[in-house]
Structure formats: structure tokens, C-alpha cells
């Protein structure tokens, strides 16, 4: 067998055997692990929570439903009830304000901030760790009163772990929050990389 063929086969074998997380471009703090089932919700009513649900489904490792491995509930007060039920072991909040405007959902940003404060309070009461995720492209602003920034200021200081994509942390916003509040911050290069790392985060 030619040497080059052996090298190709060896590289292929390493790629197959290597843990999938090694293939993802990750920086910052190492991945944390949490138990299932977990509850997914939106911070700002953007499409981010639905994007993460889609990516979790793409892993083919988790079942979706109220009594399955994970469940999504963006609306209030329904998400309060799910947190209060005590059956979920972690809360994942995807931070992004809807671009079509919260008015289309019949609420204001003040309403949503108020709901999120209550969500955090209820999760703490249930001892649910909170994972803050920023994965939707351009869900950031230079203006501190922007809805996305206000959601970040509401959720991140209360979180147990922050996950962000590289493009949303170019100004070091999440890294700084992590340092200030002693919270681990993991940076994933692209949103689709999450498909590779999610199975290593949630333990069934």
C-alpha cells in the first residue's frame, strides 16, 4: 500500500474516532454539562430559541416534548408554569429581540424584561441552572438601551454559563460580563457548530 494512501486512511480514522467537540471551533471556558430534561425559552421573542430547538433536533440525540428531553416555551405565563413544575433540570435562555417588533406580539420591551426577571426568579427558586445563549447573527448593538443589550443585562448576570458565537462577542461584551460576575463564557465560532457540541452539554 502506498504511503500516501496509509496517511489518508489514518487521518480519516482519526477524524471518525475523534470526539465531535474537537471538530467544532470553540474558545473561552470549557463546555459545562447539565442534566436533561431542560427547558428552552426566548429572551426577547426573537427567532433564536426556535433556531436552537432546530439545532438540538439536528443532533438526533434528544427527544422533544413536554415530557421528553427538552421543551420550548417562549410565551408568558406558560413558561412560568413549566418552570414551576419542577420537572426541568436546566433553563436555556436564547437572547435576541424580534426584529419584526415586540408590538406584533402585543407586548413592549419593558413587558419582556419584566417577564424575564420573573423567569430568572422562578428558575432560581427551583435551583435550575441558567444557560444564557447568544447565537442569532447580529443580535447585538452599540447602544446600551437597545432591546438586545437590555436582555443581555437582565439574563447574563444571573446565568451559570454563557455561550456566544464569535461575531456577537467581537467587543468582548460577554467575556467582560463573565469576568465581572464570575461566570464561565464559551465562544463558538458559528451557530451551526452547536450541533456538534450540544450532545456533550446535556447528559441523559
Amino acid at each position: 500500500m502506498k504511503k500516501s494512501v496509509i496517511v489518508v486512511l489514518l487521518v480519516a480514522l482519526i477524524l471518525v474516532l475523534a470526539p465531535s467537540t474537537l471538530m467544532a471551533k470553540i474558545s473561552g471556558d470549557p463546555l459545562q454539562t447539565y442534566e436533561t430534561p431542560f427547558l428552552l425559552t426566548s429572551g426577547g421573542q426573537g427567532a433564536g430559541s426556535k433556531m436552537l430547538r432546530l439545532l438540538i433536533n439536528q443532533t438526533k440525540k434528544f427527544t422533544y416534548g413536554e415530557d421528553a428531553d427538552f421543551f420550548l416555551e417562549d410565551e408568558t405565563p406558560a413558561r412560568y408554569s413549566y418552570i414551576d413544575s419542577g420537572k426541568y433540570k436546566a433553563l436555556v435562555v436564547v437572547m435576541s429581540v424580534t426584529e419584526k417588533g415586540l408590538g406584533a406580539s402585543g407586548i413592549t420591551i419593558e413587558d419582556e424584561i419584566g417577564f424575564l426577571k420573573e423567569v430568572v426568579k422562578k428558575a432560581k427558586a427551583q435551583n435550575m441552572p441558567i444557560i444564557a445563549v447568544s447565537m442569532e447573527k447580529d443580535a447585538r448593538s452599540k447602544i446600551s438601551t437597545n432591546g438586545n443589550e437590555r436582555v443581555i443585562d437582565t439574563i447574563c448576570p444571573e446565568a451559570d454559563w454563557i455561550i456566544t458565537i464569535t461575531d456577537n462577542n467581537t467587543d468582548g461584551r460577554f467575556t467582560d460580563l463573565g469576568k465581572k460576575y464570575g461566570i464561565p463564557v464559551t465562544i463558538v465560532d458559528k451557530p451551526l457548530e452547536l450541533v456538534k457540541v450540544l450532545p456533550n452539554i446535556f447528559v441523559k
Partner: protein, 423 residues
């Protein structure tokens, strides 16, 4: 007596000057109203229909428009691409033209409307000091294309009501939106001329069994929904609505939002976000197409700074290059929804390329999610245009075909509100 004569002469001179100015303006208006764009259709063209084939009362009206059909003959998905719903967003028409001229279909069927609101393309925004045309540099010289307005030309639909009530949602909208094609869906067969055009679009989607419907737009960068896909998370329970009149929204069996989200996350060449269509905003394609047909529906927005209200002079150059110092200042203050750099701008090729690749990304992801909707199709993509631009050549012009070349003479089509000689 002499004074009276003098005054009469002055009045006549003023009148003549006014008439001369009106004549110059009239020539401009007439030129735009009757301007005919020529395209060279791909050899894959199988049929040309018209809106009036779906809504006969549109025949010989300025809302009639050609519908280009490319059928591979191989069973697969059917894709509908809509250009020019708002004529002052011309990258959508240019993207449709590049598709029509360069398309190759191996599986399934593709339907393209390049000038959805033809009437709106015959009215400029001269009152807002907008140019009426822009030019594309090609190998055979400059080709001129219309810019148009956002609305149906008032010559074709007038007057506007005090409040426009969308049918059948009953939602009140601004008065001029009765002439806004992207507020009149799902339309009415016997409604205003804009509503009838909207109904024709719905009938194309329903009668041609469209699986994937994509509406191509452009948006200001001071508007949050720019550089974005919009798709519905939920759809109207039609049966329940028709029985009770109550609008209830349910999760669809097949999700266009999932496809749009995957496409947005996968696109690396340019920023593409994704937004869910609100259930409560009516008349828009991404809402009503999904509610009143079985198609997976998407709207795409490119960043078009030409329609931002705070730019410098609205010149043809601004339309084509998208470079403006005032928007740069606003972006530097964090007030825009797009990472704008005036040195690059938002040139026409970039916006056209975004639509070409944005649509292809949707078609490919839809095939992965739902293999029975697979459509195998090709046309130039963003990266192809970027490569040409890097050689210092206008890539929009590069991918257009010469309508005067002898080898193209059998495939030339004149885009107008009715068939003309060579069609």
C-alpha cells in the same frame, strides 16, 4: 391700454414657459411609462403565461405581467420566485432577470415573475428627486432599467380611501397601502386592480402547486428587517376561519421557518438574519401566502441604502454603488441594522448576488428537509459575481445576455404589460 397689453404678453410668456416645463416633464413621464426592458430567456424556458391567465380581468391592464416557466419535465418540487413586488427595490428584478437568462433546471419546475407590480414600475419617484432609471455596464454598452415606485401607479388605481382595510383579515392599514402589492395579499378576484394582481400571485401558487415560494425585496438599513429572511412560525387554520371567521394560528406540518433558519445560519458570504412572520400583520406575502396556500413561503430582504431617508442626493450612482457618508456616520453611532461600510457600500451586484444565493440556499435546504420537494436548478451565485467583480468587471452586466446578438434573437422577450411583437 398699453399696460393691459404688457400684462397680457407677460401672462402669455409665463404660460408658454409653464407649458414648456410641463412638456419636458410629460416626455419624462411618458418615457418611463412606456419603457420596455428586453431580456434573453434561457433555453430551459418551456412556457410564458400572464397574470391574466389566472385572473382574466387583468388582461390589457397595467397590472398584467409575464410569468416565465421553466419545467424540467422531471418530477420534483415547484419553486416560485417573485421579483419587483416593490419596483423601487430593483435588485429583486435584476436577480429575477439573471435567473431567467441563466437558469438550468434538471429536476422540478421553476416559475419566475420579474415585474410583479408592472404598474408601479411605470411610475418614478421624481417628486422625491429619485432618478427614473439606472444603467448596467455590459460588453455591448449600457443597458437601462427602471427604478419605479413602491406603489401601483395612481394612473391605474385611484383614489385611495381614508383607511385601507385588508381582505379578509379586516386589518386597518395606511390609505396608500391599498396600492402596495405587499399589503394586499391574499387579494380578491373582483377587488381593486392591486388586489386582483395579488390574487393572481395566489392563484399561481395554488394552481401550479408551488412547494417553495420566495418573495424578493430590499429594505433600508435603518429598518430592523433588513438583510433577513422572514418566514412564518405558525399558519392560519383555514378551515376554522372559513367556518367561524376566527383567526387561529397553528404549527404547520412543514416548517418554512426551520428552512429559513438553517439557510441563515449556513450563509457565510454575507450577513443574513432570520425573523418569524408575526401572526398579526396582514397583507404581506410571508403571512398570507402561507395562510392561503400549502406552499412553504419566504421573504428575503437585501440592504438598499438608496431608500433610507437620510442619505445624500439620490443619484443613479447611489442606487448602483450604495455608498453614502451620512449613513456611515449613523452606522458609526450604532443606529443602523446592518454593518455598513461606505467604502464597500451596498452595490447592485452585491444585492443581486445575495438574492441569487439566498434563494438557492432556501431551495437546497428545502430539498434536504423535504426530499419530495427537491428542485435541481442552477444560476450564477454570489461567489460567481464576486469573482467577476474582483477582475474589475460589472458582474450584473457580465451575466446579462445581449438581446441584439444574432444567436439570441429567438430568445428575446420584451417585458411589458402586454405581449409585444417579438414575444
Amino acid at each position: 391700454m398699453e399696460n393691459t397689453k404688457k400684462r397680457l404678453i407677460i401672462k402669455i410668456v409665463i404660460l408658454v414657459i409653464a407649458l414648456a416645463i410641463a412638456a419636458v416633464a410629460a416626455v419624462d413621464f411618458w418615457t418611463l411609462r412606456h419603457y420596455k426592458e428586453k431580456i434573453v430567456t434561457s433555453p430551459y424556458l418551456t412556457e410564458v403565461k400572464w397574470f391574466s391567465d389566472y385572473v382574466p380581468s387583468l388582461k390589457n391592464t397595467w397590472l398584467d405581467t409575464p410569468v416565465f416557466i421553466f419545467d424540467s419535465g422531471v418530477e420534483g418540487g415547484t419553486v416560485f420566485l417573485n421579483g419587483c413586488p416593490h419596483p423601487y427595490e430593483p435588485a429583486s428584478t435584476m436577480a429575477a432577470y439573471l435567473m431567467i437568462e441563466n437558469i438550468e433546471v434538471e429536476k422540478g419546475k421553476v416559475i419566475i415573475v420579474p415585474r410583479c407590480n408592472f404598474s408601479g414600475s411605470t411610475e418614478g419617484m421624481a417628486g422625491d428627486a429619485y432618478p427614473m432609471f439606472f444603467s448596467v455596464e455590459t460588453e455591448w454598452g449600457e443597458e437601462k432599467y427602471k427604478i419605479g415606485d413602491r406603489y401601483t401607479n395612481p394612473l391605474d388605481q385611484w383614489p385611495d380611501p381614508f383607511t385601507y382595510v385588508n381582505y379578509p383579515s379586516g386589518q386597518n392599514l395606511a390609505y396608500q397601502d391599498i396600492r402596495n402589492l405587499n399589503r394586499t395579499y391574499p387579494g380578491r378576484e373582483n377587488g381593486t386592480i392591486s388586489e386582483r394582481a395579488a390574487y393572481a400571485v395566489m392563484e399561481i401558487i395554488r394552481q401550479e402547486n408551488v412547494d417553495i415560494a420566495i418573495d424578493m425585496h430590499e429594505a433600508e438599513i435603518l429598518y430592523p428587517v433588513t438583510s433577513t429572511y422572514v418566514a412564518p412560525a405558525k399558519v392560519l387554520d383555514r378551515e376554522h376561519f372559513l367556518e367561524t371567521g376566527e383567526m387561529v394560528y397553528v404549527e404547520p406540518e412543514e416548517s418554512s421557518l426551520d428552512i429559513a433558519m438553517m439557510a441563515a445560519m449556513n450563509i457565510d458570504q454575507f450577513l443574513m438574519k432570520c425573523s418569524a412572520s408575526p401572526n398579526t400583520l396582514h397583507g404581506l406575502s410571508h403571512r398570507e401566502w402561507a395562510d392561503w396556500s400549502d406552499a412553504l413561503t419566504f421573504l428575503m430582504e437585501t440592504p438598499e441604502i438608496f431608500i433610507d431617508k437620510i442619505t445624500g442626493p439620490r443619484t443613479e450612482d447611489l442606487m448602483y454603488t450604495g455608498s453614502d457618508e451620512f449613513l456611515q456616520r449613523v452606522t458609526d453611532k450604532g443606529l443602523t441594522y446592518f454593518p455598513y461600510e461606505m467604502e464597500f457600500g451596498t452595490p447592485m451586484w452585491y444585492r443581486v448576488g445575495r438574492h441569487l444565493s439566498g434563494a438557492m440556499e432556501i431551495i437546497n435546504w428545502a430539498s434536504l428537509f423535504y426530499p419530495e420537494k427537491e428542485c435541481i436548478v442552477s444560476w450564477p451565485l454570489y461567489e460567481d459575481m464576486e469573482e467577476i467583480e474582483n477582475q474589475g468587471i460589472d458582474s450584473v452586466g457580465y451575466f446579462l445576455k445581449n438581446p441584439n446578438a444574432p444567436e439570441n434573437k429567438d430568445n428575446v422577450f420584451t417585458v411589458y404589460y402586454k405581449p409585444v411583437d417579438n414575444n
